[in-house]
């Protein structure tokens, strides 16, 4: 009897024990852990997508764009009473009093580093497949994108941590390239892949093309004096010539055409970031929400922030009368406001004058004070036309060009001018100006040109397109005084490395002055 009891007992015990034995392997249920994914040649499209996806971060207004624009005379985000102080971030950015702990330093560093890393991942895994024309094309595209993100990092921070695509032990601190080393490396990469890249005619400007590589080379050579300490104007001119002479690109006769909603391909575009407000892109630029006043609602867009404006200094450089680039009215019936610079009384779609929240009329005035401004202070700027009937009011309906042919003309003009080819420079600048007359008006052509004029022209053509800081640095004006901003130390031409990056990579040495 007793024996049976124990046999029974141990049987039950044994049965129960088996249901409780485990090797503790973690089974992930809601993610593809993915070793198979990246090793499957079927997924080649999926591998090249991520580095392209990071381009969207570079046009996000509070990310890379903010570091190239808010620190210049083009954009000012004033504190409006209890609005927009935001930890002092925007004041510091505009007045150039930032430190290594400024929130944007880390965000932009991380975003651009992610672009480099995604490109590396694509290069590495596509490189493991059996090679063919497609793998070669995609690897070249990824190499361009890696070079592009490294160029952006170098432009902002003046040094670039670097890993080869097959350096996959991420616990090792990567080597750090100096500004010159980085520029040379990027030039080397671009020239290596250039012959094998597709053309815009073949793949469109939404993909990396030969033209994009030429444009990037032109930009790096134009800035090489900043990056590498010596002038390379001839090389810059050479790549501009190649682009302009290719016949693939044309300066628009209607300046505002390329900034309309739902415009995809355009003759001006060399490389664009495709955006669509019908699709969740994970990030996307908010071109109107952040600048319009709270009352300027239209269509489905009702969340407006009344933030960034432009400085009076910059606003007043314009030939407001004759320059088509200053103002455009074609969407007023749908939006209630114009494209370009918004100044004076603002109206609703039905034409009634709008009011501020306290009941005063909504009149935008150029006078602005960064520390304390009323709601209506500052001339507003809106370059890209929004979609009034959008379903995602924070997604852009516009494809955004990050390189376009007018910029190339101005790069060539500048390089020529710096080589004292005044005639050549005038020809290029006047070619652009010739296309930019306001309707019924004529924008006067220039008869003489100085570097000052050229910088102004770049402002007229490319304002709020994320290029201003680089231009001001190259022209030696970035740390000069304007409006409220006092002259700052020359070390401000480079941003500080974010504290979080210096904390973990001992090869990074903080930039001077921080």
């Amino acid at each position: 009897m007793k024996k049976y009891k124990f046999i029974l007992f141990f049987t039950v015990f044994g049965l129960l024990s088996t249901m409780s034995c485990t090797d503790l392997v973690e089974n992930v249920l809601d993610e593809q852990l993915g070793a198979d994914l990246v090793n499957n040649p079927q997924n080649i499209e999926s591998l090249i997508n991520p580095p392209y996806g990071s381009l969207r971060r570079t046009i996000e207004w509070y990310d890379y764009w903010a570091l190239q624009e808010v620190s210049t005379d083009e954009v000012i985000i004033p504190t409006r009473g209890t609005d927009w102080y935001d930890n002092g971030d925007w004041q510091q950015l505009h007045l150039q009093t930032w430190t290594a702990d400024h929130g944007r330093m880390k965000n932009v560093w991380d975003a651009l580093s992610q672009g480099v890393s995604r490109a590396n991942t694509a290069i590495y895994y596509i490189g493991q497949f059996n090679q063919n024309a497609t793998t070669e094309q995609y690897i070249n595209e990824a190499r361009f994108l890696r070079a592009y993100y490294m160029y952006l990092i170098n432009d902002l921070y003046g040094q670039v941590p670097f890993r080869e695509a097959d350096e996959v032990d991420f616990s090792v601190s990567p080597v750090v390239l100096t500004s010159k080393e980085a520029a040379d490396y990027i030039i080397g990469e671009l020239t290596a892949i250039l012959p094998n890249l597709k053309t815009k005619t073949e793949v469109g400007s939404e993909r990396v093309t030969k033209g994009a590589a030429q444009a990037l080379l032109a930009k790096i050579y134009l800035n090489y004096e900043v990056y590498g300490g010596e002038a390379k104007w001839t090389e810059a001119i050479q790549y501009c010539d190649e682009l302009i002479n290719s016949g693939t690109y044309a300066v628009a006769n209607d300046y505002w055409e390329m900034f309309q909603k739902n415009v995809a391909e355009h003759s001006e575009f060399i490389l664009r970031v495709p955006m669509d407000d019908k699709v969740d892109m994970g990030s996307g630029s908010v071109w109107v929400n952040f600048t319009l006043h709270y009352s300027q609602t239209f269509g489905n867009i009702n969340s407006l922030w009344n933030g960034p404006s432009t400085t009076k200094t910059f606003y007043e450089t314009f030939d407001q009368e004759n320059d088509a680039r200053f103002y455009d009215d074609r969407n007023r019936a749908e939006l209630g406001f114009n494209q370009g610079f918004m100044v004076g009384q603002q109206y609703a779609i039905n034409g009634t004058p709008l009011k501020q929240r306290n009941g005063d009329p909504l009149v935008f005035v150029p006078e602005i004070n960064i520390g304390s401004s009323p709601e209506n202070a500052g001339v507003r700027v809106n370059k890209f036309a929004p979609n009034a009937n959008t379903e995602r009011q924070f997604s852009s309906p516009n494809d955004v060009p990050i390189m376009r042919i007018s910029d190339i003309y101005l790069i060539r003009a500048e390089a020529k001018l710096r080589k004292n080819d005044v005639a050549g420079a005038l020809a290029d600048v006047n070619y652009i100006r010739g296309k930019r007359s306001a309707s019924g008006k004529t924008l006067p052509l220039l008869t003489t040109i100085t570097l000052e004029d050229l910088l102004k022209e770049r402002g007229f053509e490319l304002y709020w397109e994320g290029l201003r800081r680089q231009d001001l640095v190259r022209f030696g004006k970035f740390t000069s005084a304007w409006q409220e901003k006092p002259a700052t130390d020359a070390t401000k031409s480079l941003y500080p490395l974010p504290t979080s990056a210096v904390d973990v990579n001992e090869n990074l040495k903080q930039n001077p002055g921080y």
Binding site: S46, N87, Y294, A501
Partner: protein, 1062 residues
Amino acid sequence: MYSQKARFSMELKNVTLKQVFDEIEKNSEFIIVYSDDMVDVSKTVSVNADDATVNAVLDQAFQKTNLSFVISDRQIAITAKPANVPINSVQQTKELNGIVNDSKGEPLVGVTIYVKETTIGTTSNFEGSFTLEVPADAKTLVFSYIGFQTKEIEIGTQTLFSIILQEEVLELEEVIAVGYGVQRKIDQTGATDRLTEENMNKSVAGSPIEMMQGRVSGVNITQNNGEPGSGMSVRIRGSNSIRSGQEPLYVVDGIPLDNADITPNGGTAAGINESSNKNPISFLNPEDIETIDILKDASSTAIYGARGANGVVIITTKKGKSGEGTINYDGYMGVSQIREKMDLLSAAEFRSYTKPNGSKLLDLGASNDWQDEIYSTGITQSHNLAYGGGTGKFNYQTSLGYLDQEGIVKSTGIQKMNGKIKVSQKAFNDRLNLVGSLIASHVEDYRAPISETGGFEGDLILTSLKLNPTYPIFNPDGSYYQHDKDQRNPVAMINLVNDETQTDRILANMSADFEIVKNLTYKLNIGLDRTVAERRVNQDKQLNYLGNKGEADINGITANNRLVENYITYLKDINEDHRFNFLAGHAYQYIKVTTSEMNVNGFEVDDILYTNNLQYGNFSAADVNSSAYKRELQSFFGRVNYSFQSKYLFTATGRADGSSKFGENKKYGFFPSAAFAWRVSEESFLQGIEKLSTLKVRLGWGLTGNQEIPDKISLLAVGTTPSANGYFNGTLSPGITFLRTPNPDIQWETTMQTNFGIDFGFYDNRLSGTIDVFNKTTRDVLLEVPSKAPAAAQTQWQNVPDLRIINNGVELGLNGLLMDKKDLRWEIGGNFAFIKNEVKDLPVKLIETGNASGQGLSGTRVQIITNGQPVGTFYGMVYEGLDANGMSIYKKDADGVEVKEYLGSALPDFTYSLSTNLKYKEFDFSMFWYGSAGSKVYNNTANALFLKGPLDKGNNVTKAVLESKESPDNSNAFSSRFIEDASFLRLSNVTVGYTFDTKSIDWLGKARIYVTGNNLLLFTDYTGFDPEVSTDASEAGVPSMGMDYTSYPKPRTFTFGVNLQF
């Protein structure tokens, strides 16, 4: 009479008297007392009874003995028959008379009185008096009675005795739960506290956690806000980590619960983010709880290994007691109101404001107090019926509870239905003991659009604070007046949002104890904890701020937690001096949690709730999401208790814990502990000191872990994310990229704790207390550190080896029985704790958290974790007042640059509580105060709303703002201006009760009525609703503390209740 009710069936042949007594005690509530000197219990007897009374059983048993018995209620005193004193004795005798009373003067019935070292004795009768014939040379009389201290009296020439017996202080016999068993409190070596019904916070306590609040030293409990059933943050002995996952382990009837959040997400809108989480163990019915044991030091918690670092809370539910069934009914009705509204401008005061340019604010003519529109009186009712009893072999306890609690914000509340059954059955000659329990609960939460954080557009509370009081509620056509999407109508928000969560939870548990051989017991424990929660949120299309024609959210969570434990215990005594208790076991736990989410907008219908038929909306464009994870834990554990002469107590434990979450190189962790206690008062050299009744010194050390690390972080992840997708030719295609850098070495955080404690009692323990001093150091702190860019992912999880989080503390608990008379009993108690927290060797300069909410505060993080400072330190500019223009002045350095400084921590320096209980005749009175000192709170509400600028723009503000000299152009930059002292003292609870005399009513065992007031008084300098608040403003998983942003205010509640026993 109990002795008539209790019935026995037994057939015992040639057993010892002891066995008969044991049988009686086991199957009834009788306690049998006798003196070994007088009663020889080894004598063999036989009993054959069938449904017989105890008198019949004992009469049979005593047939051939010289013994007799006296029954007094549930006590049976056995004495030798006086008749058996040899009659032929030649000795001279004398007669002694006397009376025996307790300390209150009540006669004691059935006290055993005998002459020392003889069998001559008797028992006291119903008047407490006795008569005893003793030999003339008898020297000493002994008085012994269960529950009282035995007294010896020299007889001398005295013949009349008036004896007072002192009650034995029950605390000495208290048992405490220690994890996988119980232990006598006197044998305890660690720092633990036990709460029983006596000292738990009661009335309108929706959850067991509230019942602990303020009651245990070193346990800091903050109710996140005043919403019914709102989340709690419980920190036992400080903050050990800089991540979330700092909640203690809850063990309910032997089942360790999973702390996963089981609140489904709600609906959101611009300016209204996720609402706060709900309390994880609010599913338990407070009335079902018998005891709560709080294990604080590592020597106590190490038996829970990788889950012990945050302390352990062991909750034991009520079980049936042998005897006839009793029915208990407990019910109450409560009325809750807002304690104090914000002192906002009335419509008239608002109109009185003139802007600097001379103009007036927008005035639409109405006069509304928006706070009055959203707050109302909340009615709470609770009914609880419990029934329990048993035969000794089979015991049962069942209960049914119902709670309907209305919040003080209209349309908010909680309804809870609980059922519980617990049965136990003994078999195989009592060698097998089976216990089964089932706790089921159904909770319905009704919520308003109130969120933890949120934008300037505002949730309900924010709207009620800032909205222009001259706006009307309705348009002339009867529709809601909605001025703007950021100036919402709070009445519309209440009426047009319907937010209901239904949560069903079952906690089932079955355990079997089997005594294999004497003193060797095997125990099997199987548990299941399953939760299904569904939340449905409807936001009506009439709400103008939605912009998407109404929105419906249906979100669900299911959580499964399964447990199998096998363990053996072995007791071994080596002569009287050495006692061993061994425990060894294995545990396996499996946890799986799945979630699902659906969001549809664009509804055209008016008359039904959208969630009831999503097809009416733009369902083809629904946003859907789901997730799932599962976890396994496997553990091997053991414990040895050794006691030498009951004076020197040793405990050693060890647990090897493995978790599927840990990296493949670190699957198992080992967590040892050791403790020693010395019962100094048992030493002979202290026996002479009468005033000292207890003195025990404890010393403990142990390592525990915190395995509440995120899932999946040890593994590489490659996958898709929207930002990696490609968009070419107008088509979206997935992008595959690295989402996470793997770390195969990832493991638990380790906390080492040493504890030194003293337990003391004076004057028969009428004054007793405990002092504990501890040091708690956490290492291997888990941090999400930046990767070395460019890397697969931007951050990586690491255990940072050098980083330490240190908590040093002193805890003191005191209890005094100041008066103990027949009609008056007065007790007073207090708890005090100092805890100092410090972070050392952080590998990065600082970690930011505490995201401020509100306009102009984007990117503002007010709290940091940095070296040399406690967790929860506020950091920012130092406000020095307003200048002549009404602009803020901040402290500047020599270069004129505004400096940032440490502005204090949200952790208190010192917490305390005071309680008192007074019984006078049939009345009882209790009062409970608690408070904290030295902590800071960030008044985010004031920073976002209560300044001149918002008033100038047409928002309502507090009266102080209207009077201030601040300029409307002044910015609301975060600074010390908005860091306030959070010290407070709260009168948490006052109860007055009256117990009826039910002796004459035979169907009624007990009847008591009471009135309680909760949250009656609050003394604080804080200008917000309540300084005891915790809005979740975490940044990248680093929790914030002491943040207050438009929190749901805590109500003041008055309750009337009744306790009945049948």
